[in-house]
């Protein structure tokens, strides 16, 4: 089975864009969530290899969800994907070897570069891109 991803964004368009790029790269979508609370529930249930997390969402924002996920799984691979291209977002993952940040809009190259980094694909045999 390939590596799995949980895609979190309140926008269906944003989820569809992330899904398209990651499925093309060989990842399997374990689940999708529309807010931070659902994200934490699904993260606990599904234990995905990767989470992509929007920031501006209803009920619970992505930064709060990210911090909750970090408490439960310090080495979970998480990419923050947001239109807020600001230092305080970048700083959240600056010293986090399993976290990254890409601003919207992004290309498939931007997203896959972040995926490679947080999933440690370089030099790994577990890289679907090289399969």
């Amino acid at each position: 089975m390939g590596q799995t991803v949980l895609i979190v964004d309140d926008s269906r368009l944003a989820r569809a864009t992330v899904r398209k790029y990651l499925v093309q790269a060989g990842l399997e979508v374990a689940g999708e969530a529309g807010n931070g609370r659902q994200a934490i529930e699904l993260f606990t249930q599904l234990s995905p290899d990767l989470v992509t997390l929007d920031i501006t969402m209803p009920e619970m924002d992505g930064l709060t969800a990210f911090r909750e996920i970090r408490k439960r799984a310090p080495d979970a691979a998480v990419i923050l994907v947001t239109s807020l291209d600001q230092k305080f977002i970048a700083q959240e993952v600056a010293n986090d070897p399993y976290g990254d940040f890409i601003p919207k809009p992004f290309s498939s190259i931007d997203l896959l570069r972040a995926v490679r980094r947080v999933l440690r694909w370089e030099g790994s045999t577990d890289n679907p891109m090289e399969a």
Binding site: S11, L13, P103
Partner: protein, 208 residues
Amino acid sequence: MASWNPELSEEQTDSLKEVGNIGAGHAASELAELIGRKCVVSIPELVCMDAAGIAQFVRSPDAIVVALHMNMLGDIPAEMLVLTRLAHAQRMLDYMSPTSAPNAQRNLEAFQLALRQLGEVLTRSFADAISQFLGTSARYAFADAAGPGNPNGVTALLGSSSDEAGDSYLAVKADFFDVDKTFEGKLVYLLTAKAQKMILERIDELLG
């Protein structure tokens, strides 16, 4: 003022909100860079408005007394408004230039100029992000500012991207504010039916 466009599906509504989110997020980020404070945006809303409704909205006397208007030309013609209270506009300018920000009471001309520059930064970053997302080209014509000394400046210009007189717009609205809530404002992206259709077609192409 209607709050829903019955001709749009949920999927289309979602897509237009995401376009607004990308634009507003970048505008807030550009502002954050300028003033050195964390700025965030609300989840965008869609509202149907005709030109009269927009004019009424802009003129709301209790709240919004500064408005900036920009025409977006290029592949997807649209209009853009930045609305905020006078005191909040003054605060943003103070953050940008704490020692020399023009004061609306003391130096009206310099204040209006600074305001236009602020509006231009916000609207351009909004439009550039959308163009990058959709892979379209954009040109701008910054039109006017309304505020002290020019209360009707914006409303007189509304409708320049409209195909016909009496056309209604779909307004994609998002609030922007600093995280300490020392100021807030609204970014309003005004789309004619033709512009909505072009954006939605482009998104279909992008998703393949």
